[in-house]
Protein backbone atom coordinates (compact mmCIF):
# COMPACT_ATOMS: atom_id res chain seq x y z
CA UNK A 1 0.00 0.00 0.00
CA UNK A 2 1.28 3.42 -0.91
CA UNK A 3 1.95 5.74 2.00
CA UNK A 4 0.66 9.26 1.95
CA UNK A 5 2.45 12.15 3.70
CA UNK A 6 -0.35 12.22 6.28
CA UNK A 7 -0.10 8.52 7.08
CA UNK A 8 0.24 7.42 10.73
CA UNK A 9 3.84 6.88 11.84
CA UNK A 10 4.81 3.23 12.33
CA UNK A 11 3.73 1.77 15.66
CA UNK A 12 6.61 1.36 18.07
CA UNK A 13 7.93 -2.17 18.21
CA UNK A 14 7.99 -2.97 21.90
CA UNK A 15 10.05 -6.11 21.40
CA UNK A 16 12.88 -4.10 19.88
CA UNK A 17 12.48 -1.48 22.55
CA UNK A 18 11.17 1.22 20.32
CA UNK A 19 10.19 4.56 21.83
CA UNK A 20 6.98 4.41 23.81
CA UNK A 21 7.05 8.06 24.73
CA UNK A 22 8.09 10.93 22.57
CA UNK A 23 7.71 13.60 25.27
CA UNK A 24 11.32 13.28 26.35
CA UNK A 25 13.92 14.19 23.72
CA UNK A 26 15.80 11.21 22.37
CA UNK A 27 19.18 12.82 23.03
CA UNK A 28 18.37 12.99 26.75
CA UNK A 29 17.59 9.26 26.84
CA UNK A 30 20.97 8.67 25.25
CA UNK A 31 22.64 10.81 27.90
CA UNK A 32 20.85 8.92 30.69
CA UNK A 33 21.79 5.57 29.10
CA UNK A 34 25.44 6.59 28.77
CA UNK A 35 25.61 7.83 32.36
CA UNK A 36 23.95 4.67 33.69
CA UNK A 37 26.14 2.47 31.50
CA UNK A 38 29.24 4.31 32.69
CA UNK A 39 28.23 3.90 36.33
CA UNK A 40 27.80 0.13 35.94
CA UNK A 41 31.04 -0.24 33.98
CA UNK A 42 32.85 1.62 36.74
CA UNK A 43 31.11 -0.44 39.45
CA UNK A 44 32.09 -3.65 37.66
CA UNK A 45 35.66 -2.55 36.96
CA UNK A 46 36.49 -1.69 40.59
CA UNK A 47 35.25 -5.14 41.62
CA UNK A 48 37.04 -6.98 38.81
CA UNK A 49 40.33 -5.67 40.21
CA UNK A 50 39.74 -7.47 43.52
CA UNK A 51 37.14 -10.24 43.18
CA UNK A 52 38.05 -11.75 46.57
CA UNK A 53 37.19 -8.49 48.31
CA UNK A 54 33.83 -8.51 46.52
CA UNK A 55 33.34 -12.17 47.49
CA UNK A 56 33.84 -11.07 51.12
CA UNK A 57 31.18 -8.39 50.67
CA UNK A 58 28.81 -11.04 49.31
CA UNK A 59 29.71 -13.37 52.17
CA UNK A 60 28.82 -10.64 54.68
CA UNK A 61 25.17 -11.12 53.74
CA UNK A 62 25.39 -14.67 55.15
CA UNK A 63 23.06 -16.03 52.50
CA UNK A 64 25.35 -18.19 50.42
CA UNK A 65 28.19 -20.61 51.05
CA UNK A 66 31.63 -19.03 50.67
CA UNK A 67 32.46 -20.99 47.49
CA UNK A 68 29.37 -19.69 45.74
CA UNK A 69 30.21 -16.15 46.86
CA UNK A 70 33.64 -16.51 45.27
CA UNK A 71 32.13 -17.57 41.94
CA UNK A 72 29.64 -14.70 42.08
CA UNK A 73 32.48 -12.36 43.03
CA UNK A 74 34.21 -13.38 39.82
CA UNK A 75 31.11 -13.36 37.61
CA UNK A 76 28.88 -10.43 38.65
CA UNK A 77 31.40 -7.64 37.99
CA UNK A 78 31.83 -8.84 34.39
CA UNK A 79 28.08 -9.06 34.01
CA UNK A 80 27.78 -5.45 35.18
CA UNK A 81 30.46 -4.37 32.71
CA UNK A 82 28.80 -6.11 29.76
CA UNK A 83 25.37 -4.76 30.68
CA UNK A 84 26.86 -1.26 31.05
CA UNK A 85 28.47 -1.61 27.63
CA UNK A 86 25.13 -2.78 26.22
CA UNK A 87 23.51 0.42 27.48
CA UNK A 88 26.17 2.61 25.92
CA UNK A 89 26.61 0.74 22.65
CA UNK A 90 22.86 0.03 22.23
CA UNK A 91 23.63 -3.59 21.48
CA UNK A 92 21.57 -6.11 23.52
CA UNK A 93 20.19 -2.97 25.13
CA UNK A 94 16.90 -4.28 26.54
CA UNK A 95 18.63 -7.37 27.89
CA UNK A 96 21.16 -5.14 29.64
CA UNK A 97 18.51 -2.92 31.20
CA UNK A 98 16.51 -5.99 32.25
CA UNK A 99 19.45 -7.75 33.93
CA UNK A 100 20.65 -4.62 35.71
CA UNK A 101 17.13 -3.85 36.94
CA UNK A 102 16.73 -7.41 38.23
CA UNK A 103 20.14 -7.22 39.96
CA UNK A 104 19.27 -3.87 41.57
CA UNK A 105 15.91 -5.10 42.87
CA UNK A 106 17.52 -8.26 44.22
CA UNK A 107 20.33 -6.27 45.81
CA UNK A 108 17.96 -3.79 47.48
CA UNK A 109 15.86 -6.64 48.91
CA UNK A 110 18.83 -8.55 50.33
CA UNK A 111 20.34 -5.35 51.74
CA UNK A 112 17.14 -4.63 53.66
CA UNK A 113 16.93 -8.24 54.86
CA UNK A 114 20.57 -8.19 55.97
CA UNK A 115 20.02 -4.96 57.87
CA UNK A 116 16.91 -6.37 59.52
CA UNK A 117 19.00 -9.36 60.61
CA UNK A 118 21.49 -6.96 62.20
CA UNK A 119 24.36 -7.98 59.93
CA UNK A 120 27.46 -5.84 59.58
CA UNK A 121 27.46 -5.27 55.83
CA UNK A 122 29.18 -3.00 53.38
CA UNK A 123 27.61 -3.01 49.95
CA UNK A 124 30.88 -3.14 48.09
CA UNK A 125 29.03 -1.82 45.07
CA UNK A 126 31.80 0.60 44.19
CA UNK A 127 34.73 -1.10 45.88
CA UNK A 128 36.52 0.88 48.60
CA UNK A 129 34.70 4.08 47.63
CA UNK A 130 31.45 2.67 49.07
CA UNK A 131 32.98 0.72 51.97
CA UNK A 132 32.00 3.15 54.66
CA UNK A 133 28.70 4.38 53.26
CA UNK A 134 25.86 4.30 55.76
CA UNK A 135 22.87 2.03 55.24
CA UNK A 136 20.67 5.02 54.41
CA UNK A 137 23.11 6.20 51.74
CA UNK A 138 23.30 2.67 50.31
CA UNK A 139 19.57 2.71 49.86
CA UNK A 140 19.44 6.22 48.42
CA UNK A 141 22.10 5.28 45.89
CA UNK A 142 20.40 1.99 45.04
CA UNK A 143 17.01 3.59 44.53
CA UNK A 144 18.53 6.32 42.35
CA UNK A 145 20.14 3.69 40.16
CA UNK A 146 16.95 1.66 40.09
CA UNK A 147 15.00 4.79 39.16
CA UNK A 148 17.40 5.46 36.29
CA UNK A 149 17.03 1.89 35.04
CA UNK A 150 13.25 2.01 35.25
CA UNK A 151 13.30 5.23 33.22
CA UNK A 152 15.43 3.55 30.58
CA UNK A 153 13.19 0.49 30.61
CA UNK A 154 10.12 2.63 30.13
CA UNK A 155 11.73 4.63 27.38
CA UNK A 156 13.71 2.79 24.78
CA UNK A 157 16.95 2.34 23.00
CA UNK A 158 16.63 5.09 20.42
CA UNK A 159 16.84 2.71 17.50
CA UNK A 160 14.52 2.12 14.63
CA UNK A 161 13.54 -1.01 12.77
CA UNK A 162 15.40 0.30 9.75
CA UNK A 163 18.62 0.64 11.73
CA UNK A 164 18.27 -2.86 13.09
CA UNK A 165 17.55 -4.58 9.81
Amino acid sequence: MKQTPNAEPPTPNAELGEPRSSSFPRILWRVVAIIMGGIFIYAGAVKVIDPVEFARDIDNYKMLPWQMGVWLGLYLPWLEIFCGLALIARVLYRGGVFILTALMVFFIVITIIAKARGLDISCGCFGHASKYLSFAWHLVLDFLLLGGLVLLWKSSPPRTNAQLS
Binding site: V48, D59, V70, Y75, G95, G96, F98
Partner: protein, 142 residues
Protein backbone atom coordinates in the same frame (compact mmCIF):
# COMPACT_ATOMS: atom_id res chain seq x y z
CA UNK B 1 9.63 -11.07 24.95
CA UNK B 2 11.68 -13.63 23.03
CA UNK B 3 14.12 -10.93 21.97
CA UNK B 4 14.47 -9.82 25.57
CA UNK B 5 15.20 -13.37 26.70
CA UNK B 6 17.67 -13.88 23.90
CA UNK B 7 19.49 -10.66 24.74
CA UNK B 8 19.58 -11.47 28.45
CA UNK B 9 20.93 -14.98 27.87
CA UNK B 10 23.54 -13.59 25.49
CA UNK B 11 24.76 -11.11 28.11
CA UNK B 12 24.75 -13.74 30.87
CA UNK B 13 26.80 -16.05 28.65
CA UNK B 14 29.20 -13.31 27.51
CA UNK B 15 30.09 -12.46 31.10
CA UNK B 16 30.99 -16.10 31.80
CA UNK B 17 33.98 -16.05 29.51
CA UNK B 18 36.15 -13.34 31.15
CA UNK B 19 35.03 -14.57 34.60
CA UNK B 20 36.30 -18.07 33.77
CA UNK B 21 39.57 -16.70 32.40
CA UNK B 22 40.03 -14.59 35.53
CA UNK B 23 39.25 -17.58 37.76
CA UNK B 24 41.93 -19.58 35.97
CA UNK B 25 44.42 -16.74 36.17
CA UNK B 26 43.84 -16.16 39.89
CA UNK B 27 43.30 -19.81 40.85
CA UNK B 28 46.26 -19.89 43.24
CA UNK B 29 45.44 -16.56 44.87
CA UNK B 30 41.76 -17.16 45.62
CA UNK B 31 40.83 -18.76 48.96
CA UNK B 32 38.35 -21.22 47.41
CA UNK B 33 37.51 -23.17 50.55
CA UNK B 34 36.94 -20.58 53.25
CA UNK B 35 36.89 -16.85 53.75
CA UNK B 36 39.90 -16.86 56.05
CA UNK B 37 42.70 -19.33 55.45
CA UNK B 38 43.02 -21.82 58.31
CA UNK B 39 46.65 -20.73 58.68
CA UNK B 40 45.48 -17.19 59.58
CA UNK B 41 43.39 -18.40 62.51
CA UNK B 42 44.44 -19.29 66.03
CA UNK B 43 42.46 -21.00 68.78
CA UNK B 44 42.01 -19.50 72.23
CA UNK B 45 44.17 -22.24 73.78
CA UNK B 46 47.11 -21.74 71.42
CA UNK B 47 46.96 -17.94 71.65
CA UNK B 48 46.93 -18.18 75.45
CA UNK B 49 49.95 -20.44 75.40
CA UNK B 50 51.93 -17.66 73.74
CA UNK B 51 51.66 -15.70 77.01
CA UNK B 52 53.58 -12.42 76.98
CA UNK B 53 54.68 -13.09 73.42
CA UNK B 54 51.15 -12.27 72.19
CA UNK B 55 49.72 -8.81 71.58
CA UNK B 56 45.93 -8.88 71.81
CA UNK B 57 44.10 -6.47 69.53
CA UNK B 58 40.39 -5.81 70.02
CA UNK B 59 38.74 -4.90 66.69
CA UNK B 60 35.29 -4.28 68.17
CA UNK B 61 33.86 -0.76 68.52
CA UNK B 62 35.35 1.22 71.43
CA UNK B 63 32.18 1.07 73.57
CA UNK B 64 32.20 -2.74 73.46
CA UNK B 65 35.90 -2.76 74.34
CA UNK B 66 35.27 -0.46 77.28
CA UNK B 67 32.52 -2.75 78.58
CA UNK B 68 34.89 -5.70 78.76
CA UNK B 69 37.85 -7.13 76.90
CA UNK B 70 40.62 -9.70 77.04
CA UNK B 71 43.14 -8.67 79.73
CA UNK B 72 46.01 -6.69 78.19
CA UNK B 73 44.19 -6.17 74.89
CA UNK B 74 44.37 -2.84 73.06
CA UNK B 75 41.42 -1.31 71.25
CA UNK B 76 41.96 -0.90 67.52
CA UNK B 77 38.50 -0.40 66.10
CA UNK B 78 38.12 1.01 62.62
CA UNK B 79 35.91 3.86 63.79
CA UNK B 80 38.98 5.65 65.28
CA UNK B 81 41.60 3.86 63.23
CA UNK B 82 44.33 6.48 62.71
CA UNK B 83 44.29 7.72 66.29
CA UNK B 84 44.23 4.22 67.84
CA UNK B 85 46.80 2.83 65.43
CA UNK B 86 49.39 5.50 66.23
CA UNK B 87 48.85 4.93 69.98
CA UNK B 88 49.23 1.18 69.45
CA UNK B 89 52.42 1.54 67.42
CA UNK B 90 53.97 3.94 69.92
CA UNK B 91 53.09 2.19 73.15
CA UNK B 92 52.44 -1.52 72.71
CA UNK B 93 53.78 -2.72 69.41
CA UNK B 94 56.95 -4.73 69.23
CA UNK B 95 58.25 -6.45 66.06
CA UNK B 96 58.91 -9.79 67.76
CA UNK B 97 55.45 -10.30 69.22
CA UNK B 98 52.62 -12.22 67.61
CA UNK B 99 49.46 -10.20 67.08
CA UNK B 100 46.10 -11.81 67.84
CA UNK B 101 43.11 -9.86 66.54
CA UNK B 102 39.59 -10.59 67.70
CA UNK B 103 36.05 -9.28 67.31
CA UNK B 104 32.78 -10.33 68.86
CA UNK B 105 32.10 -13.77 67.38
CA UNK B 106 32.84 -16.26 64.63
CA UNK B 107 30.49 -14.45 62.26
CA UNK B 108 31.95 -10.95 62.61
CA UNK B 109 34.38 -9.61 60.03
CA UNK B 110 36.02 -6.77 61.91
CA UNK B 111 38.99 -8.83 63.07
CA UNK B 112 39.66 -9.94 59.54
CA UNK B 113 39.53 -6.35 58.28
CA UNK B 114 41.84 -5.10 61.03
CA UNK B 115 44.30 -7.97 60.47
CA UNK B 116 44.34 -7.20 56.77
CA UNK B 117 44.91 -3.50 57.35
CA UNK B 118 47.76 -4.17 59.79
CA UNK B 119 49.34 -6.49 57.25
CA UNK B 120 48.69 -4.57 54.01
CA UNK B 121 48.40 -0.91 54.98
CA UNK B 122 50.63 -0.67 58.04
CA UNK B 123 53.03 -3.33 56.67
CA UNK B 124 53.66 -4.82 60.10
CA UNK B 125 56.19 -7.65 59.90
CA UNK B 126 54.60 -9.55 62.81
CA UNK B 127 52.81 -12.86 62.61
CA UNK B 128 49.17 -11.73 62.64
CA UNK B 129 46.40 -14.20 63.50
CA UNK B 130 42.65 -13.96 63.96
CA UNK B 131 41.18 -15.46 67.12
CA UNK B 132 38.86 -18.33 66.19
CA UNK B 133 35.39 -17.65 67.57
CA UNK B 134 36.40 -14.18 68.79
CA UNK B 135 35.33 -12.69 72.11
CA UNK B 136 32.56 -15.30 72.51
CA UNK B 137 35.05 -18.15 72.31
CA UNK B 138 37.28 -16.39 74.84
CA UNK B 139 34.36 -16.01 77.26
CA UNK B 140 33.40 -19.67 76.81
CA UNK B 141 36.92 -20.82 77.65
CA UNK B 142 37.62 -18.29 80.40
Amino acid sequence: MKALLRQSVALLALALLPAAVQALYLRDKIPWQSRVAESDLVSVEVARSWGANALWVDARPVDEFERDHIPGAVSLGQDHWSELLSQFLEKQWSPEKKIVVYCSAESCNLAEDVARRLRDESKLPNEIRILKGGWEAWLAKK
